[in-house]
Every structure is written in C-alpha cells, then in structure tokens.
C-alpha cells in the first residue's frame, strides 16, 4: 500500500455500466480473453474453475411467466477503494504485496511473478473477481501466435484478475509523454477492451473524479448504484438501472429495508 506520490497526477478510473443497455451478448468477455491472453481449456462449464476477468450474469425478477424480466450484469473487478482509500479488501490481506492499490490511477494491480498462490485475496474478495490458475495454461496447436506481448501470460498457481487493461493506460501515458503532454491523457485515449467491445455501448469508462469525463456525471445519476455497497468495499464500478428489483438484487437488505432507489419515487 503505497503512499500517494505527490508529483503524479491523481486519477481515479472507474466504470459505469448501463444495465438497461446490456444485452448479455458476452462480447466484453470475449474481447477481454483476447486482450488479456486469458487461457481456456476444453472444459469451461464449471464456472468456479473458469478464468474470466469480466463475467456477465443473468438476473431474473423471480416473477412467473409472462411477467418475468431479465437483466444482464457484467461483473469485472470492482477495483475497490476500500474502507479507507487504498485499503481494498484484497490488497490489505496479500502477504507478499503481489497485489497493490495504485494511488495514481485507483487501479488494483496484480503481479503474477510475485504471487505465490496463497489465495487469501480470493477469500477476501466478495465479488469473486479473482481467479486462480488451477492448471498450466496451454494454447493448443499454434494458438500461442495470437498472444499479446502487452500482457504476460500467467503460470499455474497464481491469482489473476481484471486490471482495467492497465497496459492500455501505460500505452496512453507513453503516447501522451511522447507528444509532450505527460499528464494529459484524453478520455478516449484510455478505454478498457470491454468498454470498446460492448456492441451496445453499455459500458462507459473514465476518470470518476474528472468532471469532463462521461463517467463523472453518470455515476451521480439517480439510477446509479454499486454492487454490495453495504460492505463498504467502495467499488469503482457503478451500474445504472431504472428497475427497482435490479437495485434490490445488487445488495443485501433486511426484510424491512429498501434500496435507496425506488420506482415509485421516480414516478
């Protein structure tokens, strides 16, 4: 848990996902596999053994036919700020500083060559965002050819997770530096692969603290909420939905409690 270096511009990258738009097509998942060299096996149907940095869930309102409603919910790593800024659930528990909260970007990093696979971070993460390499990754035939040099393939026995495509941030920062504007990374210069891939533009990505970025306004929408907000994990991923049952399905409530958002209030 590094202290904030005073000379670096502080950003706080985050995501706003419009659940009213998400069609559940899984383009984000596939684009992420391709972007981040995520391995695959012939058997991927046991989801708790499958490596996905972003996973799209299907939620139903539980009503019988034909009043049933479905909502798709993509779940990347929430890049939690934690109880106090930087005290993410996973970062504080890693015994070997293999995962860290990057103060200049608000992104939770993961160093694969540092991780020795104790999986404490997985126990700490309420979102199951962290995945363990139970197997040696194998790319059959000549599939190693399509691996990207921007993201190192992981080895067996380490934990991996979504990094908000941090390598794209590095690329954008390098570009900005080369063009003589070291601190000025434009909104469109750094976008995650899933954001770009979403064919229905449900994902918006940017600096949550920058009023010029789209996410700044969206996260303050009355339809905005975060997943399991009551755990005080302080996620950097926001969701939008106009449906009350979706808000309710995103957090735990005691019987007498109500989510902050209600359709009646809106109407």
């Amino acid at each position: 848990m590094e202290k904030i270096p005073s000379h670096t511009k502080k950003r706080h990258f985050g995501m706003v996902i419009d659940l009213d738009k998400c069609t559940g097509c899984a383009s984000c998942m596939v684009a992420c596999y391709s972007e981040n060299n995520i391995s695959f096996r012939d058997e991927e149907s046991v989801k708790m053994l499958s490596t996905n940095w972003i996973q799209v869930f299907k939620l139903t309102n539980g009503k019988p036919f034909p009043d049933t409603e479905v909502c798709y919910l993509p779940k990347p790593c929430m890049q939690c700020d934690g109880k106090h800024f930087g005290h993410s659930p996973c970062v504080s528990v890693c015994p070997a500083v293999a995962t860290d909260f990057d103060y200049p970007t608000g992104i939770v990093s993961q160093i694969y060559t540092r991780c020795f696979g104790c999986r404490y971070c997985m126990a700490a993460c309420p979102y199951h965002a962290r995945k363990f390499n139970w197997w040696d990754p194998v790319w059959p035939a000549d599939m190693e050819k399509y691996l990207s040099p921007d993201v190192s393939p992981r080895m067996r026995g380490v934990v991996e997770k979504c990094t908000f495509c941090y390598h794209r941030f590095q690329r954008a920062r390098q570009q900005a530096y080369n063009e003589g504007r070291p601190e000025d990374i434009r909104e469109d210069e750094y976008q995650t692969a899933c954001t770009q891939a979403c064919p229905s533009n449900a994902i918006t990505f940017g600096d949550l603290d920058n009023p010029d970025h789209a996410v700044y306004k969206l996260k303050n929408s009355r339809y905005a909420f975060r997943l399991l907000e009551r755990l005080n994990t302080n996620p950097s991923v926001y969701y939008l939905s106009t449906r009350e049952w979706v808000h309710r399905a995103a957090d735990n409530y005691l019987e007498h409690e109500q989510p902050a958002f209600s359709e009646e209030q809106q109407a």
Partner: protein
C-alpha cells in the same frame, strides 16, 4: 561397550512390535506422500478447491493443528513463566506435540500455496499489514522456539548424552529455557491471534468480519484465548491416549486436574467472550451489511443454526462447566469427555470461520451456496500429519525420557 538407546529404568515393547506399529503409520504417510506428489507435480487442480473456495480443508487443518498445538505454548507459559512446577511433568510431551502440529502446519501450507517454490516471498516481500504475514513470521520463528525446546529432550537420549558437549548443551538450554519459552509465548500469542485475524479482517465477508481493537478484530483475541484454553486439553487427551496405548500410567492425575482446572476457566471465559462477540456480530455487524443471522444458517444443505448451538453450548459452556467443578474434572470419564467436546468445539469454530465463510453467498442474485467436499488428495494430506505425529511421538516415547514421572509411576521395571 554399548549404550542402550532406550532410556534407563523404563520398559518398552519389542523391536518387532514397534516396527509393525510404525509400519502401519508409515503406510498412511505414504498415501499422503503420494497425494503430495500429485499436488506438487500436477498442481492444485488435483484438489476440489475452486475460485469460490480459495481456502478450504487445508486452511482449516492448518488452523486446527495450530490451535491444538497451542498446548505447547500455553503449557510452556504455565510451566516457565507462571512457574507451575507440576506442568513440567507433561511439558516435554506438549512440546513434541507442538513440533508435530507446527511442522504439519508448515507442510500443509507448502501444499496449499500455488507456487511453493516462491513461498519465501512471504518473508522477503512481506506485507506487514497482512495477517498472513504475521502468521508466517511468528509461526516459523515459533517453530524454531519449539525445536529449541525440544532439543534438550532429544539430547536426553542416553546415547547422545555420552557426547559431553551435548550433555552440557542440554543442561545449559534447560537453564535458560524460560527465556525461550517467554519469547515463544509472545510469538504464539501473535500468530494464534493473527490466525483469528485472517477471517476477522475480511470485511467483504460478513460471516467472518468482526470489529475489533486497533488493527485486531475480536477474532484475534478469541482465537488466542481458545487455543490457550483447548490446547492443553488436547495435550492432556493425547497424553491419556498414549497411556491407553502403552497401557501405562505416565503422568500423575493431579497434572491432569491442574490442566483441566485452568483450561476450564479459560474455556468458560472464552465462551462467554465468544457469545458476546456472536451476539454483537449477529445484531449489529452483520445487519449493518444487510444480513440477518438466519441468512447464514438457511437455504443450504449443511450449515444450520445447530452448528452455532453445538459450538457455543454443547462444545463450549458444557465442557467449561464440567471442568471448573472439582467433581467433574476428577471423574476421568467426565474430564476427557469434556476435553473431547472442547476440542470438537474448537474444530467446529475453525471450520466455520474458514469454510462457512466461503460457502455463504453474498450476491442476492446468486442464491446458491457454494458447497465443497474435499478431494482424496486433500484428505490424504490432512491425515498424513496424524500418522506422522504417531511416528514421531512413538519414536520420542521409545527413545527419550518424555515423562519424568514414568519411572516413579511404573516401579516394576
């Protein structure tokens, strides 16, 4: 001139019988070693763990053996710091049990991590904020202390005693054993606590999370306290088991009674604290995160509220009350019945604080509990320490004067 390997004045079984006994245990060890081979060479896919169960049987086994091995530190504390002379009659046995438990814990940790060859990163790149770092450091240094405590006992072997240097070494170590023991107690207090901190700090896991004091969640103190309470009972029970197997009285009853009395009060205070903690957690901590108590005990095939009742009432208050009454602890059946209950209570506590934490679903749209049953590899490697313990204790019992009172209690030899 030959020196007998077996200590003077005690009787041990014949070599053939002894080897047969060791052989049976060795078979179990071999099974475990084969599982170890599978795990180290093929990876953790050989287990039934998954991304929902980063922590599973092994972490439970770790927590359990360390808590039970806590008998060593607490007996040491009583014998060397408080100065209860009577406890010294069982301290050698407590130490060797501790060595077994702690080496087993390290072995299991070595299996559990995905990259054992990088295990030393936990020291080299330590994150001092992580409970696991604290565990790793204190645990390994404390294992050193345990070995130091064990060395003098080892040196008591008649053959080794013949070497003058070792004779002196054993004497000198005995002399300053209190210093080592004190350091051990200090280290133990922290790593037992940190093991409690491991689940307690998980604020993303409402079932495990506890508020606390400074950086330490209440589970920190509860784990230390419960290990101190139950550890000596485990030592006593194992000692009794050794007596039963060897068909010999090895320790006088007043040693058992003393340990039982102390443990009884420790257990009672612990279980009261645990109850207060549970009530506070169930009424304040968990509801603030949107969970009612019964959310953690319903809609699943295994974890129901009776587990909590069993842990606190049946395996907490009941044995505590038996042990604090003279009549209770002086009745052998009640004494060891209570000890076994207390041990079960401790095992349940460590189980739920690891596995139920993983099992409880957090996202309302994922109603299903994550259930898990260990693979044979996990079971084999978790049983391995028991067989290994049997071998080590058998060897120690045969060749070392573990029980100072043995000669006195078995004058016939």
């Amino acid at each position: 001139m030959t020196t007998p390997a077996i200590p003077e004045g005690v009787k041990r079984c014949g070599s053939r019988q002894f080897l047969l006994w060791l052989g049976v245990a060795a078979l179990v060890v071999l099974w475990g070693v084969y599982a170890m081979y599978r795990i180290w060479f093929y990876g953790l896919n050989q287990t039934n763990m998954n991304n929902a169960y980063g922590f599973a049987l092994w972490i439970w086994a770790d927590l359990a053996v360390i808590a039970l091995g806590g008998g060593a530190f607490f007996s040491g504390f009583l014998a060397y710091i408080i100065g209860l002379k009577n406890v010294k009659n069982i301290i050698n046995f407590a130490v060797i049990l501790g060595v077994v438990c702690y080496t087993s814990a390290l072995l299991i940790l070595g299996l559990d991590v995905g990259q054992p060859l990088r295990g030393w990163f936990i020291f080299w790149h330590a994150n001092v904020h992580s409970m696991l770092t604290e565990v790793a450091f204190c645990l390994s240094v404390y294992l050193g202390v345990l070995i130091i405590e064990f060395i003098p006992v080892l040196l008591e072997n008649p053959k080794i005693q013949k070497v003058r240097f070792f004779h002196h070494l054993s004497h000198n170590m005995h002399e300053i054993m209190a210093v080592f023991a004190a350091t051990g107690v200090f280290l133990s207090f922290f790593h037992q606590g940190s093991l409690g901190g491991v689940p307690g700090v998980l604020y993303g896991r409402p079932f495990a999370f506890r508020e606390g004091l400074f950086v330490w969640p209440w589970t920190f103190f509860l784990f230390t306290w419960s290990a101190a309470a139950v550890g000596p009972l485990f030592t006593a029970s194992m000692c009794r088991l050794t007596e039963a197997i060897t068909r010999k009285k090895l320790v006088k009853d007043d040693v058992y009674h003393l340990l039982a009395k102390i443990s009884g009060w420790m257990l009672l205070t612990y279980i009261i604290a645990k109850s207060i903690d549970t009530i506070y957690w169930a009424t304040v901590t968990a509801p603030s995160m949107g969970f009612a108590l019964m959310d953690f005990y319903s809609n699943n095939p295994l974890y129901n509220i009776w587990i909590l009742v069993a842990e606190i009432a049946v395996c907490g208050f009941l044995p505590a009350l038996i042990l604090i009454t003279r009549k209770g602890r002086e009745n052998k059946k009640l004494l060891f019945g209570a000890a076994i209950l207390a041990i079960i209570g401790l095992l349940i506590n460590r189980w739920v604080m690891v596995l139920q934490v993983m099992a409880a679903p957090l996202m309302p749209f994922q109603e299903e509990w994550f259930m898990y049953s260990p693979a044979w590899t996990e079971v084999a490697t978790s049983i391995l320490p028991i067989a290994y313990g049997i071998i080590l204790i058998s060897l120690a019992y045969r060749y070392l004067p573990l029980f100072p009172q043995e000669k006195e209690l078995n004058p016939g030899n």
